[in-house]
Structures are given as C-alpha cells and as structure tokens.
Symmetry: C2
Subunit: 642 residues, 2 copies
C-alpha cells in the first residue's frame, strides 16, 4: 500500500507555486484568525469563536451564523496544521492550542460537538441530518485534528474528536436503537477513514463504511425525516427536496453518473475510494471509476470546474457545460483533486493526476487573488461583468473576487489545499517513489532524498536528483503527462536513460548513477476543441499549454469578447513576460472581431456585421482578474474556412 510523504519532509521551492503557498502563512491564516474572532472591521462578523465560547458557557449570547459555522474553525486549524508541519511557528501553534482547548471546553460530556445544536436546539440533535450539517462539521473537525496530530504530535485535539467519533459510532449503525441515517452533506466518511488510519481504531472505518453502504438504500432517509419534522427546515431552497442532490437517490454502487451538489459528490467519492482500498471492495472501486469517467469525461469544464448549475451548485446532464452561468465551485475542484489523488495512489494510474494537476493549475488556483486577499467561489469560463447582477439568474457569478463570504467555505479550503500541496507532488510505495507533479521541491526522509528542479508550467523540463541515505535504492516512477510530446529522460551527460511505461508512469530501469536525471518534453501552447456534443463550445476553440488553460481578458483585448474569432490556421505564439502577473508565458493568436458599423443604432437589422483584424493576447486562466476587472473568456469563437 502507498505511503504518504509527510509535509515536514517536503520543502517546496517552486517559483510558480511558492508565492501562493507563502500567502497562506503570511496572509490567509492571520487574516482568517481575525475573521474567526470578528476583528475585521469591514467584514461581516463570523461569530465563529463566539459560538464556541457560548457553548462552553464562557460568554453570553446566541448562536450566530450558518448551521455549519464551526467548520470555519476546523478548516483554519487544518490549514494551520499543514503550515506548522512545514514551517514551525510557536506563536501560531499557541493560538491553535488555545482554540483547541476552547473546542474541548465546548464539547459536551458525551462527546457531542456542534455549537449550533448545543446552543440553539439541543433537543434537535441528529434529527435533521438532511440540513443540520452535524456530521459534515464533525468530519472537518476530525480532519483538522488528524492533521494537527500529524503536524505537532499533540493529541489533545485528536482525543476530542475521538470522543465525538465514539459518540457517532454509538449513535449511528444497523442496530435497532441506532439511527439508520447518513449525512446530508458528506465529509464525515472520508474523515473517519483518516481517523482510523491514524488511530487504528476499526470502528471508525466501519462507521464510514456503514454511512456509504446505507446511502440511498430503501425509502429515502431525508424524505422520511422531512415528513417526521412536518416539512419544517432550515433552508427554504430544500422545500422540494431531490434526493439526487445529496447522492442519496440510489445505492452508491449503482450510481453511474455524477449527480447533485458537486462538493457533496466528490467528498463522497473520496470516501468510496478509501473504503474500496481498505476493504478490497471491487464493486465500490468500479463505481468510483465509473463516476470518475462520467464526471471528467462528460461533466467537467476545460478548467476542471464541476457543477454546471448555479442553482443548488450541482451537476446537470452530460455535455451541459454553459460557460457563463456555471457554478464550478473552487471547493468542488478541491474535492475532485482529493478524489483523483486517491485514485492515482490506489490504481497507480498516472492519468488521474492529469486531472488533479489541471484542477490545481486552473480552477483551484483561480479561486485566490495573487495578493491572497480575495476569492472566487464560482469560476465561470466567460464573464461579462455588466450582466452579473444581483436578483437575477446570474447573481451567483461575481465578476471580481470577493473579500470573505458569510459562507466562507472556499478561502480556508484553498488555504488547506495550498498548505498541503506537498501531498500531491509525490508518494511512495516501498522503495518506489511516484513523482506526480513536477513542482520544484526538496523531499527528504523518504528514506533518501529527492530534489526536484522543474521549469513547469512554462517549460517541459525537470531535473530530479536522488540523494542521501537510501537514495541509491530509490526507484523512480515519473508521471508522463498526457500533454507531454516527446517525453524523454536523459542523464547529466545527455545520454538517454532507459525506462519503461506502467500506466502513465516512466519507471526508470537504471540505477541512480545517472542522477540528476533530466526530463524533457514539449508542450507548446496549442488549440483545443470540445466534443461537439458540448453545445456551449460548438464553433469555439480554446488555448492550453500543458496543464495551463488560457483566457482572453478585456484589459488586453478590449470589450465584447463574445464577438472575437480566432484564426486557427495560424499557430499560437508564446511570449515569456516576466513582469506580467508574476511572470507568465502569454499567448498571441491572430483573429477577427465584429465591427460595430451599421448595426450600432439598431438592435436587429438585415445587415451583416463586418469583421476586422485583431491580434489576441491570452493569459493563464488562473491569473484572470488580477488587473483591471472586465470581460473574460476561455472559449473563443473560431473562424471557419469554407
């Protein structure tokens, strides 16, 4: 079985990623700490720590915020844990310890830990699993506690969540006196597997399996529950509840298409993959593969976004990928990366990492501004700021990143993802090390060390040096990216190093005498087309360079990007621009644009608009809206030659 390389052993030195990772430590974590304590003057108060203090009877007041408000604290602690693991910081650890102690004081005698229900509705415990988010919240607490234990070796938080998990093991299960239900928002399942792996207590794994196995079996639990509480609920938008929304429309092993709320879906798929591995459950693994194939093969945007519907942030139907009104939540892409990463580790199939890498370089990274101060929750591929109006069908789309939301799921989720980027770079299985992402880093204690010096994403070149004690015995499995043309491995003398391929990995056949090994491949900026079944992209073309998807911005190309046509008979041209957006390769293409002319005054006319020549400049999608806000489009119309 694969082994994760601890974050403390991975020092990321990458020119592309390091600035973003540093933002977590230098900007996001301190800022979120203020948010949790309601110390940011111009932001909505989060009430987060207030709620814990009230639950601990240390402060007077009511519960405030959303039903899942506690998870902001959990996600902050998880990001802090990953950060502390790589960058020890006494003061930060002290704040975290204090917060954990507060959480412990807020916890009930029996292990229950959810400030909404503790303060507001103690008799309502576990009676509204559809909307209550108690299990979702517990899941985030568990993830944070596991991460904190792994980072610091301190087990206070772990003990707290074990007490909660023990309560859940007592409360939920197949026995007559147990609740035969499952969470309305999945997350607890994957958390329980993590908790099992760190504690070795099998009941946690079994509860995770119970939640997955019972989901969608028989009469729908949430509809029955709704009846019992007379239809009353927390969220008005759930009045006409559709079980597919929470993937409870059928048993999970029977599900063939990615349905419902995208974040719920991918969090569940993560747990399914974990359990398939733990139990050797082939039917569950088959379901994971089927759902992965459907999701990434028919329901995913070029940028990695999932969730085509703004309403209920959900999947719709195959090939339905509208570019302007989609949701493509940053959190959903994070969940998809977590799922893909698990699938790669379990199957040793590198193709899963192509999608994970796509998520990281595009939909996830787009979620955060380059200054770390604002965030996209929704990631459209086409934006016309004028029509992103409140109280309309486009109200979920924001043309600029937002400071910090009331429902602040994405910023802390981005923080924990960036802080744990090391987990995506490589993993090992015995003496073989799988290198998944060509992100510059020094990894030690494998045993042996690995130095990765990459020029990604701008150039297909990476030097890898094995060293240290055990370095010589290390067997390298190097991911061959799907976009890599002419992937080659040579030694420092330029001579080819022999390798063979195993499901997308180049397994080096020689010993480490040739180190550093030098990987090279071509990945010129190139046009990409969508399957003709994707109605929204018909007649359109986009640009991609390796994993990086490009877009046009108004600031470079003027307004009305819908009226722009690329001339694909001419290849795209690359330019390294060190002063643009932190240093990027920009891409130029020739094209045409609609000239206003005769129609300018009329709305409709029998006069054909003329086209005029234009040179288009594209920049990486993840960096859009870091200059003057304006229109943006990933897909350009294409000129056809008849």
């Amino acid at each position: 079985m694969f082994q994760e390389i601890p974050l403390r052993n991975t020092k990321i030195t990458d020119e592309f990623w390091k600035p973003s990772i540093d933002l977590v430590r230098e900007s996001i974590i301190p800022y979120q700490w203020k948010i949790l304590n309601d110390l940011v003057k111009d932001a909505e108060p989060s009430h987060c720590l207030h709620n814990f203090k009230v639950a601990a009877r240390e402060e007077e007041g009511d519960f405030m915020g959303a039903v899942f408000q506690d998870t902001d604290v959990a996600k902050w602690l998880e990001a802090v844990a990953y950060t502390l693991e790589a960058f020890p910081d006494e003061e930060l650890e002290r704040l975290a310890d204090e917060t954990i102690a507060l959480i412990g004081r807020a916890q009930q005698e029996d292990g229950y830990l959810d400030t909404y229900f503790i303060i507001k509705e103690p008799e309502g415990r576990f009676k509204n699993l559809q909307e209550g988010h108690e299990l979702y919240t517990a899941g985030h607490m568990i993830e944070a506690a596991v991460a904190y234990y792994q980072a610091t070796g301190k087990d206070e938080f772990l003990k707290i969540v074990c007490k909660t998990a023990d309560l859940l093991c007592d409360t939920f299960g197949p026995e007559a006196d147990q609740i035969h239900g499952y969470p309305g928002h999945q997350e607890i399942e994957l958390a329980l597997v993590r908790l099992y792996r760190v504690t070795g207590r099998r009941q946690y794994l079994e509860l995770a399996k119970y939640f997955i196995d019972i989901r969608g079996v028989g009469a729908n639990y949430f509809l029955e529950e709704q009846k019992k509480r007379g239809g009353r609920g927390i969220f008005p938008e759930f009045s006409g509840y559709d079980p597919a929304y929470s993937q409870s429309h059928m048993p999970v092993r029977d599900q063939k298409t990615a349905e419902g709320h995208a974040v719920r879906a991918v969090y569940m798929y993560c747990a399914m993959a974990d359990l398939a591995l733990e139990y050797g459950d082939e039917a569950l693994m088959d379901a994971c593969k089927t759902l992965w194939d459907n999701m990434t093969g028919k329901r995913m945007y070029l940028t990695g976004g999932i969730g085509s519907s703004g309403i209920l942030e959900r999947f719709t139907t195959d090939y339905d990928l509208p570019n302007d009104r989609n949701y493509s939540e940053t959190c959903a892409s994070i969940g998809l990366a977590l799922f893909g990463s698990r699938m790669a580790r379990i199957t040793k199939d590198a193709s899963y990492m192509d999608t994970v890498e796509l998520e990281l370089y595009n939909n996830i990274l787009a979620g955060i501004a380059m200054d770390g101060k604002s965030f996209f929750y929704v990631n459209p591929l086409e934006v016309w700021p004028d029509n992103c109006m409140n109280r309309t069908s486009m109200e979920h789309v924001k043309p600029v990143r937002q400071k910090w939301f009331g429902v602040a799921c994405c910023p802390p989720n981005i923080a924990r993802t960036l802080a744990s980027l090391g987990h995506y770079i490589a993993f090992r299985e015995d003496k073989r090390v799988y290198v998944n992402l060509y992100v510059s880093a020094v990894i030690d204690g494998i045993p042996g060390s690995l130095k990765i010096e990459s020029q990604m994403p701008w150039k297909g070149r990476c030097e890898i040096t094995r060293g240290g004690e055990g370095g010589k015995e290390m067997e390298l499995a190097l991911r061959i990216p799907a976009y890599a043309e002419g992937f080659a491995v040579t030694g420092r003398d330029g001579r080819p190093v022999r390798w063979h391929e195993e499901t997308g990995y180049a397994i080096l056949d020689e010993d480490s005498g040739s180190d550093p090994v030098i990987l090279t491949w071509n990945m010129p900026a190139a046009y990409v087309w969508a399957n003709p079944m994707v109605r929204a992209d018909a007649g359109r073309v986009a640009i991609k360079k390796g994993p990086v998807v490009y877009c046009l911005e108004e600031t470079d190309n003027g307004a009305n990007l819908a009226g722009v046509f690329a001339d694909t008979s001419q290849p795209p041209a690359e330019t390294w621009e060190p002063d643009l957006l932190g240093g990027v390769v920009s891409v130029s293409v020739h094209g045409k644009r609609l000239a206003a002319g005769a129609l300018q005054k009329k709305l409709y006319a029998a006069e054909r608009p003329q086209l005029e020549d234009i040179s288009l400049k594209a920049v990486p999608y993840a960096r859009w809206c870091n200059r003057t806000p304006g229109e943006m489009t990933v897909w350009m119309k294409e000129l056809y030659y008849v």
Copy 2:
C-alpha cells in the same frame, strides 16, 4: 382623440389567425371554466370559485391557492366578454352572469373584494402592498367588468367594481388619513383609466394618476412597509427586496431604462401612456418614449420577448439577451403589445405597431399550442430539452408547453388577447381609419364598412374595400410595415393610387372610387443579424419573413442545433407547405454542421472537429414544438469566410 372600434363590429375572417381565435371560444374558455370549478381530474385544483363561495359564506373551507388566485376568474370573464361581443352565446353568458353574481355576494359591505384577505387575513387589508396583490387583483376585476359591460350592456359587474374602486379612492391618496402607497404589481392604474373612460367618473382617473405620480418618490414605500411588518412576508424570494423589481426605485418620469419584473413594467407603462394622453402630460409621454426605446432597442429579443432573467422574471441590462435561460414571459409580451398599441394610437406613429405585430406573430402566439391545450409561460429562443432540469438554473424553462399551471396567468391572458385581436387591427379618429394589422376581417359601423382581405403573413398582399354608408368619406391610413420592401398601393385596375406618408402610415390621397385598393410589398425570407453588442448573438444569424421569426427544430434538422452553421452567401429559399403546421411557408438554407469524428470519445482534444454539409429547414417560431418535441434554435451560427 382616437376611437376604438368595438369588437362586435369586427368579424375576423383571417386564415392565419381565425383558428387560434376559435380555440378561445371552443377550447380555452370551456376548459378554464372547468379549471375554475376544479372539475379537471388530472390538473391541480385552482380553488378559484371555491374561494369566492367561502368569502360569500356559501361554502365552508379555507382560502386556497395563490394570493392573486381571484385574477384567474377576472381574466376568464374578460376573455368571455370579448368572445361574447363577437360571438353571442346565451349559455356562456348565463355562466358569466352567475359568476358575476357570486363575485357580488363575496364582496364586502364597503366594496372590498379580494378573497385571500377576506377569508384568510381580514386584518391584513392593504398592509402588504408589496406582495398582497390586492390592487393587481382589483385591476383585473375592473378590466373584466368594463369589457363585460361593453360586450353585454349589463352593468351589474360594473357596479361591483365601481364600489371597489370607490373604496380605493377613499383609501389611497394624499390626505393624512389615506394610505400613501401604490401597488406591488401594477395593473390597477390602467384599469382605473378604463373605468374612468366608461363611467366618466374622474376620481378613478385621478387615483390612477396618484398611483403613478407617487411611485418611487421619497423613501421606498415597500421597504418601509416591510420594516413595519417585521420583514415577514408571503414570498421568500422577496426577502432582499430590490425596489427596481417593481419599478419603484425612482419616480417614473425619471426612469430611463426598462427595469425589474417585465410584466409589472409594461402594465405600468400602459397606464403612463394613458395618463400622458388624458392629462396632456408631456413629461410622462417623454418617459414612455424613452422607456419604449430602451426596451425595444436594447432589451428585447428578436421574437419580441422581454425579461432576460429567469430569476424574478425581469429585465437585466442593455444588450443582455441570452437565448436559453431567458424568461420572455408570454404575459410580458402581451403587456408590451398593449403598451405599443396605446403608443401608436396616441402618437399615430406606425413604427410602434411593427413591434406589436412582432409580439402577436411570435412571442405571444408561441405561448399557445395549435390545439389550444397547452401553454408556454417562458419563451426561450434556444432549447436543449436535456438541460431543462428541475432544481437547476434552467428549471424555469420548459421544453414542451404545459397543461395549466398553479399560477395560471398566461393561458387566460393569451385567451383575452386573441379574443380582442380586433382591437389591434384598426382604430379610427374622426373619419380617418388607421389600419394597423393586415389581418383579414370585415369591420362595419365605423361608420361605413371596411373589408380587409390579406395574405399575411405569407405574402405581402392585401385588398381593402371601403363600403356601406359613410364608406366613401372614410380616409384610409395604411401602416407601411418596416419590413415592407416596395410598398405600393394600386386600384382594381392596377393603376397606382396616390398616397403620402405620415409617420409610417400611407395616407391615401384619392377618394374611394378606386376601391378595392390593393396593397403589395415584398417581404422575402431574409437573414437578420443582431447588434454586435448582443453577446449572445455574436457570430449568429436568424431568419425572418415579414413579422415572422423562424427557428430550426430538431425534428427537421436532427439534434445538436448548437453545432449548426448557416451559409449566408446563399439566400434562403421559401416553400409553401399547406400540410405543415396548419399551412406555413418553410425556409431552407444551406449550411454545415459539426461532425462528431475524432472527439466523440474525448471531452477535449487538440483535434479540430470537421464540418459536413447540411440543408437546414426553418419553420415559424410561433409554431415550434407542435410536432415531436426536441431541440430548437432561432439563432444559427454563421460561417464566416476569411
């Protein structure tokens, strides 16, 4: 001032329109009668007459249905009135009389008449103008009563609504003991003008003027009202109320752009036009013109639809005209036709009638199936049935017409519009008769008679014969449609008849010795383009023949209409198809379509999809979805030649 020609004097003989008008009498009115009485087994009960019986203390029970449920009864009576005027029917008149008597018995002593508040919340009267719809309901009652009085000469219903209107005159106004409010959904204003015109009682006109003058002045009435009732309301979607939604964001004379809920907007504009005329209020007329120009020049679909946002059924911003997620409610187009018709009568500018005619032949007529049994509320210009899913951002779009909704505004509104089509054909001012629509009909009692024999909308040819007593003195003003090429008027002997133009009308300079006069013009099916500012239509082309907008349907052209490209270097070809859709001219164009090929299995690839030749067949938009349901598109992509 213009005079309306009574419906009883207009016998419509038109081959295109008569079948639809007959549906009202033969199908819609009897069916809706059953609906009002909850006699349709497979339809949701409407509870309409039940509510009146409960209010009259003749039946036990609660109020059921929407807060504006009474208006279904009112609209049914209005359609019945127009129908009876043209086609007397004793049995139908008896049902109407009984219903009116019931309404009278439900009315309160003081004139109050709204079963929701009578039954459910008597103390809530006029306290929630934002949501309560009492004034909207009263408006529809008044319109129905006026129509019924004009049709039958019976004044029982008129007396009922005058009593209501008197109560409103007492309740609302500038005095200290009056409510200084205005309706959340406009309608009462235009109804009060109609009531004034038939009764001569000036207080009704003055109350209409009060409602218009006070709207949007000072602190927003609805926000203040919301505060008073502690934020509680009837509709959860109004929790973050935006005054522009109800056009109360500023005084109406200051409004320059069409904003908010489209039906509310156009009903208000109708009243503004009426009042501008009655009071000679030039500022109000200027506002009408400005709003008309903005709405039809920047915010209207090619098919006449208005309301680009599905959420809150509202206007968005200039040139924002998405084709698939729009609302374009049938009722909004009806209101726009009512507004345009008023503007034409007041200004004697024929161009307003171009838009009214466009509405009738497209967005309004599309609202009803050819068998009169199902209806579109929402009228998209592009439909892919697979993605019109409930609980998603597309849930408001239905790929097939619906039988009868809980909120059944559109079917009875279509019924009253078709039943009163005569009002749109012609009006007179002294001895001059303005012919606005070339719809075959015999109109008498003008004085004199007019026989219109038209070949519209398939051919630009119309014979008009003046006759009867006074026919010789009749002066003809014949609308020159904006789309008419080579508009010519000849006598029966083929010799040109002299005319001069006055704002779009051909005023015949000769006497009636030349009757019948024969009008001819060309209006071949032709390509039409949108202003390049309309992002949704960039790179696209549509087909129009005269007022008739065409569309492609899957049943003629196969699926994936998004991947279809028209070759506009070749002109469209027309074919008269007597057996197609009740007899239509279909239009063929050459083009290409995306071939699946290499991409079929991949979602994205660096391979350019190939194009294959296709011959496309277009049919009138109003007739779409009367055969096998499937995809539809008005705007086709266009092949560009480089």
